[in-house]
Amino acid sequence: MDTSAGAAAHRAWERSLFDAGLAVVSWPSAFGGRDAPPLHELIFDEAYHGCGAPIRIGQNGLFLLAPTLLAHGTAEQCARILPPMARGETVWAQAWSEPEAGSDLAALRSTARRTDGGWLLSGQKTWSSRAAVADRAFGLFRSGPPDERHRNLTYLMVDLRAPGVTVRPIAQLDGRTGFAEIFLDDVFVPDADVIGRPGDGWRVAMSTAGHERGFTLRGPGRFTAAASRLVDLWLGHGDPADGATRDRVVDAWIAARAYRLAAHASLTTTMPPSAIKIFWSETDIALHEAALDTLGANAETQTAWTDGYLFALAGPIYAGTNEIQRDILAQRVLGLPRDRGTR
């Protein structure tokens, strides 16, 4: 995926999905979808991962930007942006984080300065997944004085091929350049590529974050499929006398099943995204830990399980760290007081 040949193959795959009418089942048909109800989307997700189909290169756009546009974008933006996204022609990257703004996203410093017909973006974004192979990026930029942390932020979409953009790929633990730094130097973005009102970006961004943490980005299929592979692994390689490892395998399977059932339950009752995010990220690690334990001394050899393990370890970090999710869950859902701190 991080090489141009790999990315091209992934784009071709997205196109095949689109041609089969399977790229974006739940979207309005006007934009390339089939108006499928949420339940069908869940069924699709499980079938997709169940047959071992590849990771979606377009996931940032498909699962995060698209719902944001459908909720906050203009009709013109939806008509212009969604169909090429569905066809795999435009691959999107997320540009929120900055070197000094990770968990504390509101500390971001990249700026959007008003100019004729649009904005000039400057600054540095980082950890942007798939930016090395993406066409465009969306994120937050400071469009007014920094004293008001959550105000004066504007949600913009930027062309990564535009003059003034430099993308530097960064290698992750498994050696692949899964994310990148984005340097912006007076990059022009037209007014048409602002989502929501200028200065109101934080509110819009929180809706994107909700999708990132919830079942939209991480459907249950990925985990139920991994759990099924794990059970096969145990049955093929596990040591029947090793009850402790068997228990970890079973616990990981239970977690994946719980996640699936919760996803179905979420069709009728709401669930806090922070709880969902903590659960999927911990489940992913548990699945891979159990696989490594099952393989025992042979687990060291680099396989899909070891690569998956190294990536799973990042789960509690991206999409809002699990510490931040626990704060949100405890304070906003359970209603516990905030520690304003004397330290």
Binding site: G102, T126, G175, N298, I317
Partner: protein, 414 residues
Amino acid sequence: MTPAPSPEERAFGESLHGALVAAGPFPWPLSDIAGRADSPAHDSVLTASDRASRVPPTPGGSGPGRSRPGDFGLGYPGPGDARPGGSGPGGSAPGEGVCSVKADAGPGAVWAVLARLGVTGLAVPERFGGAGASVGALVVAAEELGHHAAPGPVAESLAAVPVLLAGCGNDEVAATWLPELAAGRVLAGLTAPPWLPRAVHGGTAGIVVVAGTDVVRWGRAGSAYTSMDSSRLLAEVSPAGVVAEGPALVPVIARALDLGALVCAAQLLGLGRGMLEASVEHARNRSQFGGPIGRFQAVQHRLADVSVALQFARPLLWAAAAAMGPSERDRSAGLSPGTADGGTVARDVSAAKVACGEAARLAARVALQTHGAIGCTREHGLGRWLTAARVLALSWGTPAQHRARIMTELARER
């Protein structure tokens, strides 16, 4: 009295740390690595073309001529090529160009440094050119190598194989290879199923040894595999000529493997300590929400848990070192209490391996979480500690294998 390193051993560990900082192959401390152009190359061992052109090592009768000093069979720089940096008086000051070997050095280059620091000869008896050092000195050294995430077949080449060759009763082999191992001119690979199904660097090591229950053979390296820890390359090994065999070898092999597992446990403890230190440093320096992230209890408590795990793994490590008894000097004839005569070596080594492995695993997870995205990059370097901890926790006996062994021993002791 709780076993602990002797004052001399402690001093040795400290001097080794200092020497590795000054002349070692990797930038130090870990938390300074981020963003350095010369950050330690993760893929330090072999390039793809090296792998392709690798000549399978000739087993058996290969004499010392096969391994010319300074030639590890792969163009690794030998001792003469590894320009020492700031180790000696008048060496360059730490902080500027202190790396005595290139940042992309493989284990061969690391070994040259270790030889200079006297580490490669620790487990080799004096009459074969080694130091015949105490088990404690070996444990201290191994912890420090873990602390610095030194790559290479540490437990194999520095501990188990020297003990095997010194104790196996084949004097010709011992006289040929032990001086080479002691001088750091040769790296040894080892397989010993089920603990060690494949040999780390087996394809490039000067010698490959296969340990059975009562037989020691040379091994022939076959297919190579990349590891989750990209500084390691694993080789399938098929047994070849016999070095020595017979019932007298049983305790020798048992001791060699226990010493290897103990050294691996010590490495794990050192890896955990390195990750905790780096995490505390990062938590102090990284600012979010208007202050260091280390002020958040969520961060503090996890780091405190790591500290507890490491502090309570250490006494188990030292109890196992004490159970292993005196130095290799007194054992060159292959005498060993092993476990057969009621010693507690097996139980104690396994307990140390489990505890150090679990502590290192916890340290790795917490370290990554504390570092955030920067820790997920190769450039940063934390990944070297993290992946080493994960693979060493499974190497030299998995936690499940060691737990099972402890229960067997406990049942036997009833």
